[in-house]
Amino acid sequence: MTATLERRSATHLSPRLTASTAARVLRQLRHDRRTIAMMLVLPSVLLGLLYVLWKDLPTLPGQPGIFDRVGLTMLGILPFVVMFLVTSIAMLRERTSGTLERLLTTPLARLDLLLGYGAAFGIAAAAQALVTVAVATTVYHLDVTGSIWLVVLIAVVDAVLGVALGLLASAFARTEFQAVQFMPVIVLPQVFLCGLLIPVDQMAGWLQVISHLLPLTYAVKALQEVGSSATATTAMWIDVAVVAGAALLALALAAATLRRRTN
């Protein structure tokens, strides 16, 4: 009787199975030193490129420098892009190596698998964000009015959004070529419309509507709040909640679209 009950619950969500899956993904990362190094260093290097690009540009008195504005936004965009790519490839590998099919015959629930990925890459993103924020604020003198811990938090939530969308996109990718091209399809429009290139309120009305439907816009708004006010504002927390909610929604959709039976 107990055995039956235990087995019935086997494919329901299990924190233990989520944790062991996250640990497994992190172990895979640990064996890939170069990926770890790139994950930790690459955003700082790219940010440095922007820093030297703009550092001697004159700024209007009373206005934040262009690097302070763009650099801060980039702290949200870079982890989103990197984690989207890493996750799409990781999931595609899981599919082509046959391990996904095998996992689907075990007691692991589909959402356990996806949450495991989310947790593992979320942890990786936290390490990445700590390094990038530390380098940006010290080496590149990035000016943040609010707490840099909030910047780290937003970067991590953003990375988790990238993971969730990457997992969702990979459910639709049948080949490596398709998976790679989901990057421009899903990521670039969000980057164009998030308020990085021009402020959202200066966009055409219908573009504003689209912008407000895209989760990355809220991450950028949250970062701008931290950049301009010394204390955490309610508006910022709402924006962070929207991003987190979008990530959870994408994970749930990814679990729903992951088919146990295939042809």
Partner: protein, 239 residues
């Protein structure tokens, strides 16, 4: 007592009908060989048994439940033809991960690694192993769950003869302990090692019998020849 019953199973892959309506039963606690040439539908049938294949119609019942139902997932083990393990993890890390999914610990993981003869390679990355070794890691990842039904798709391909014999001994030991094994192969010399045989050709079941019975029906002590005789007899009837 039958561990698996299949009734009127029809499976299409793309536009091709791979299984046109199979019916058979697999007795519990035996090694049943699923034999047939490449392309005969063995893998498709095995995928249907573990519940990852879209089926058009028919019933597949495993241990009294529909194949693939949640209650079966820690009672049925599946080893795919190509080793499905993580190449960027060590042998131990792979087996421990799958152990954790079945609610087993490091102890059982080490035992499963020993069972497939890889105790000397536990710390090695799967990527650095030979093809045969990779297959054994894949097998260990299924054994570690102590499944009641074990579905193995060509588990001995690419293995040296000594290891092959060892694995077959292992399969029979598992069967004696009550495990039901369904093992596919395309080489007939392995048919003699099975308790029962299912001979598949173009999705049709040509024979469902013991090796001894096949020798009688195929009028040859050589199973390969007996199989060919059964195929020819069938074609003559059809013609």
């Amino acid at each position: 007592m039958d561990a698996v019953t299949v009734t009127d199973l029809v499976v299409d892959r793309g536009r091709r009908r791979v299984l046109p309506g199979l019916s058979f039963a697999v007795p519990a606690g035996q090694v049943t060989g699923l034999l047939g040439p490449s392309g005969s539908g063995k893998t498709t049938l095995m995928r249907a048994l573990v519940g990852v294949q879209v089926v058009r119609s028919g019933q597949v019942t495993v241990l009294g439940e529909p194949a693939g139902s949640p209650g079966l997932r820690n009672r049925v083990g599946y080893v795919t033809q190509a080793p499905s393990v993580y190449a960027d993890l060590s042998v131990r890390e792979n087996v421990r991960y799958f152990a954790s999914l079945y609610g087993m610990g490091p102890h059982e993981a080490d035992a499963a690694i020993a069972d497939v003869g890889l105790s000397d390679a536990t710390g090695q990355l799967v990527n650095d192993l030979s093809g045969g070794q990779r297959g054994r890691v894949s097998l260990a990842c299924a054994l570690v769950g102590s499944p009641e039904v074990l579905v193995l798709d060509e588990p001995t391909v690419g293995l040296d003869p000594v290891l092959r014999v060892e694995l077959w001994e292992k399969f029979h030991a598992l069967a004696r302990a009550g495990t039901t094994l369904i093992v596919s192969s395309h080489v007939m010399d392995e048919a003699g090692r099975c308790d029962r045989l299912l001979l598949l050709r173009d999705g049709d079941l040509l024979a469902d019998c013991t090796p001894a019975q096949l020798r009688v029906d195929g009028r040859s002590d050589d199973l390969e020849e007996a199989f060919l005789n059964v195929v020819r007899a069938r074609e003559e009837v059809a013609a």
